[in-house]
């Protein structure tokens, strides 16, 4: 008895009770569909996060005040005040440091910004002109914060597109207008081009003002929130990290790196952390989806048991006519594999459509990876074997006499 005969006879058996076949498959369709949809949405959001972080610049180092992970109590990064604008200027000016192209000191706080009767709560970022190069900011109108604005504590502001929309309406050109930050008047000198992003990474919902103005006029502090360092190339990132690290240690009169009062992150670190978060999330969702797949598999097993019981006489007859055990197993196993593979393929289509619709709805890039497709078909076939095996064994082990007598 060859494979095509077994396949044919399995297909015939499945078409004899179409409704049952469809219902049995449905569990696997939903299970696989859920897995594919969730995995691909997870991958999409991971890609979105990666793209956002990449857009910040891949040869970027960020120096944050606060201790590195080692050494007793770790102070929250950003919560301390050990970095200054002078540190930033010294890094750029130092003859010991050869790997750094540009240094930008930043201080950011949320503040209430108003223009006329409109107001918004947004991120106010104190910057130097270096910020524009380090962070690859493109201007839409006007000009960016200039060095003389920083030196002269000018009250000028550059608005992100989201802020423009909130305060002046979409597409407006507010250059020359006046806005108020914490009741202080600022003249708008430019607007930036949209860069995309959301949440804490949203670079469009920002107001840029000179660093010194932010420190002295707005918030009354003399430290900076972070220092962004652009390395001369991606391949000398670790060199840049070491040079800046040792330079700052020396400058802060610290001899032991474990007592450092600052931390240096690269974009790769941030990327890794963010990827880990979305990865965990994806794994969690996939786990839930896998449970529904398992339930679908049990549904198949249930149907196969019913089928075996219902066809006891037929199995007995087949054995009496000379069917070997392995042929009975092959037939029933093949029936359940056909059910699950068909379910897997339909589920794949369902999952792909679902993730396409959702991705469009929440504005994510749409991706369905080949691996998840292979996984779905492989897993569904595996489920067919796993949950078909026991019923098939049961069928093959029926004694032909008892099976023939069965009513």
């Amino acid at each position: 008895m060859d494979f095509s005969e077994t396949l044919l006879s399995a297909l015939e058996a499945l078409t004899l009770n179409k409704l049952r076949t469809v219902l049995a498959t449905l569990g696997v369709v939903i299970g696989i569909g859920a897995v594919i949809a969730l995995v691909s949405l997870g991958q999409s959001s991971q890609k979105a996060v990666e793209a956002q972080i990449q857009s910040l610049g891949s040869n970027l180092l960020t120096v944050m005040p606060g201790a590195q992970t080692s050494g007793g109590i770790r102070q929250a990064a950003g919560g301390v005040t050990t970095l200054t604008y002078d540190d930033a200027k010294a890094i750029l000016a130092s003859p010991q440091i050869s790997s750094v192209a540009n240094v930008s000191a930043e201080l950011s706080r949320r503040a209430q910004v108003t223009a006329g009767r409109n107001n918004t709560n947004t991120q106010v970022l104190g910057v130097t002109p270096a910020y524009r190069e380090v962070r690859k900011i493109t201007l839409l109108n006007g000009s960016f914060v200039a060095q003389r604005d920083v030196d002269g504590l000018s009250k000028v502001a550059v608005l992100g597109p989201q802020v423009v929309t909130d305060l002046f309406g979409e597409g407006a050109n507010p250059v020359g207008e006046t806005i108020r930050i914490n009741r202080m008047s600022f003249r708008v000198v430019g607007t930036t081009a949209p860069k995309g992003g959301s949440g804490f990474l949203n670079q469009d919902d920002m107001v840029f003002v000179p660093l010194t103005t932010t420190q002295k006029q707005l918030f009354g502090v003399d430290y900076v929130g972070s220092i962004s360092i652009e390395a001369k190339g991606e391949n000398i990132m670790s060199q840049a990290r070491d040079e800046v690290g040792y330079f700052l240690l020396e400058r802060h009169k610290l001899s032991d790196p474990s007592t450092a009062d600052f931390s240096i992150f690269s974009q790769a670190d941030v990327l890794g952390a963010a990827s880990q978060v979305t990865g965990t999330f994806t794994a969690l969702l996939s786990g839930i989806a896998a449970i529904s797949l398992l339930v679908g598999g049990i549904g198949i097993m249930n149907i196969m048991f019913v089928t075996v019981t219902e066809r006891t006489r037929e199995i007995g007859l087949r054995k009496a006519l000379g069917a070997k055990k392995k042929w009975i197993i092959a037939q029933f196993l093949l029936e359940s594999i056909i059910l699950t593979i068909a379910g897997g393929i339909l589920g794949m289509l369902l999952g792909t459509i679902l993730s396409f619709v959702i991705a469009n709805l929440i504005n994510l890039p749409f991706t369905v990876s080949l691996s998840s497709v292979i996984l779905a078909v492989g897993v569904s076939g595996g489920i067919g074997v796993l949950f078909g095996w026991y019923p098939a064994q049961k069928a093959a082990n029926l004694s032909p006499i008892e099976a023939l007598r069965y009513e």
């Binding site: 037929e314 009496a320 069917a323 006499i401 023939l404």
Partner: protein, 233 residues
Amino acid sequence: MIQVSHISKIYKNDSVETVALSDVSFEIKKGEFVAIMGPSGSGKSTLMHVIGALDLPTTGTYILDKEDVEKLSEDELADIRNRKIGFVFQSYNLLPRTTSLKNVMLPMVYAGIPKEERIKRASDLLKMVSLGDRQNHTSSQLSGGQQQRVAIARSLANNPSIILADEPTGNLASVQGEEIMAIFQDLNEKGHTIIMITHESYIAEYTRRIIHLRDGKIANDNGNHKQRQANHH
């Protein structure tokens, strides 16, 4: 061809032992036409299952074509059922919703016969039992007598030397029963060994030898010389 010696079959069920066969011995030669008779519960179906290699005896030996059936593996038993023995059941046991042709082809599928040959042989066999025009009918579209003729055609699929029939006319009207018996007689004349269970004596009269069973023992066997000799002593 068939050598049964001192066969017993004991079923154990919830520590209650039922003796279905007790020390049964006989021999059937090639080309014989044997009826096994007896009241219900006399063990004739059990005997038939043992002869048909569907079941193994508890004690005793069964030699089929010089092979000790007890020593065969499950797959080898399946092969014997497939090639050496043709079964005809009282309730026909055709596959439901399947055409006559496919039903007859089924044992040939298990024997690994190529498709063209299967179709040709199945078709020839159906013609032989006068069902040449019913090849594509499913069993529900056939009368009882027709279904039993399909079942006989199926039993002949792999040209087995032995045909085992378990009350083949039990569900049929006497006219149809006679048609079936005519086919069996014809097959016997062509050289098939036929062993048939029946409880109707007019059916048993078609045969040349009748084994009577009672309470799992042979009560009378008009063809078993050994048994007769044993009874004399």
